[in-house]
Symmetry: C2
Subunit: 165 residues, 2 copies
DNA sequence: TATGGAATGTTATACTATAACAATTCTTTC
DNA sequence: GAAAGAATTGTTATAGTATAACATTCCATA
């Protein structure tokens, strides 16, 4: 497995090109492995989703896509999103109706998200202690977990430091 | 404080009239205390939200409302929902775009929800162990929690027992 | 190089939520 | 009890999110 993620909140200035590259490389490998097709359009949309460490809505994505000269309609975007979601390459942030690249694609995981209410950056966790606690609480009630949505909003470390009125 | 909740998943057949009554009584007391007005329309919508232990969407609510002879438009419903949300009398289930009565109104709490994917019943938890784990994980990363969305979907105890194909 | 399935294009529409302004009701104060 | 101001409700229109349905194109494989 790769290096440990230094922090789920990367510094404001970091080599983001490397983030994009890694995401696309991983996605290609995963699709090859799973026997599914990361078509140019799907790849383009995945790349757009990785433009920033922020979730982006489907229609904002559509607008970005159009700026690149592609004249697409909503189903184009939603189909790509469906594909990427179903292969674990992106996540949907329910509380924002938005989508964001998955930082640990390829491995089945449930995921938790920290969303900064100020800068909108999102950090994906895969904190087993949280998973275990949710499992324990559910089990106690006889509930069988199939899927979970854990989205925490608040101030990220960067925004906490720089004046949070 | 009141009696401990027997189980967040009430038996299929229970005195649901008592659930509704209690919810409305508590809501009245809370509004009296907070100096806000639980108008007939707001009360009616709260009551409709308590018809079942299932979340209900705004437009389904609107339809129910119309069946009672009230000729309302969407803003009527959304305003009532906003009021009820802002006074902690109901919750919004993000993953369903739906709303459900709060089982512990009046006390500030963050809440976690178990949503049955089969019967759609929802159970509200206020499990401090989960809250503490989320706090601990967030704190470790320097993230300051403002709000949380924890929605677990899966099979409730009743549906687990009765054949889950 | 035919063919069947996957992917994409296209149009229309469903579902969720709010903006903006008018009308009404409630409460407070005189 | 009447006037003023605030809160609530009515009404119309529209913004924002997502999918249905069907036509067309692409592509792997035989």
């Amino acid at each position: 497995m790769g290096m440990p993620m230094p922090s789920p909140f990367p510094p404001k200035r970091h080599d983001h090109h490397a983030c994009i590259d890694e995401a696309l490389t991983q996605a290609k490998a995963i699709c090859l492995d799973q026997g599914c097709r990361l078509t140019p359009q799907r790849e383009q949309i995945l790349e757009l989703l990785w433009q920033e460490h922020k979730p982006i809505g489907a229609y904002a994505l559509l607008e970005q896509l159009r700026k690149t000269g592609v004249n697409a309609a909503p189903p184009t975007v939603y189909r790509a999103l469906d594909f990427l979601l179903s292969h674990g390459l992106i996540h949907r942030i329910e509380s924002l109706n938005a989508y964001t690249g998955c930082t640990t694609p390829g491995t089945p995981h449930r995921g938790q998200f920290l969303v900064c209410s100020q800068c909108q950056h999102v950090a994906e966790l895969d904190d087993s202690a949280i998973d275990h606690q949710l499992d324990a609480s559910a089990r106690k009630l006889g509930f069988m977990i199939e899927h979970q949505t854990v989205e925490i909003s608040g101030l990220c470390p960067h925004c906490r430091k720089s004046g949070h009125e």
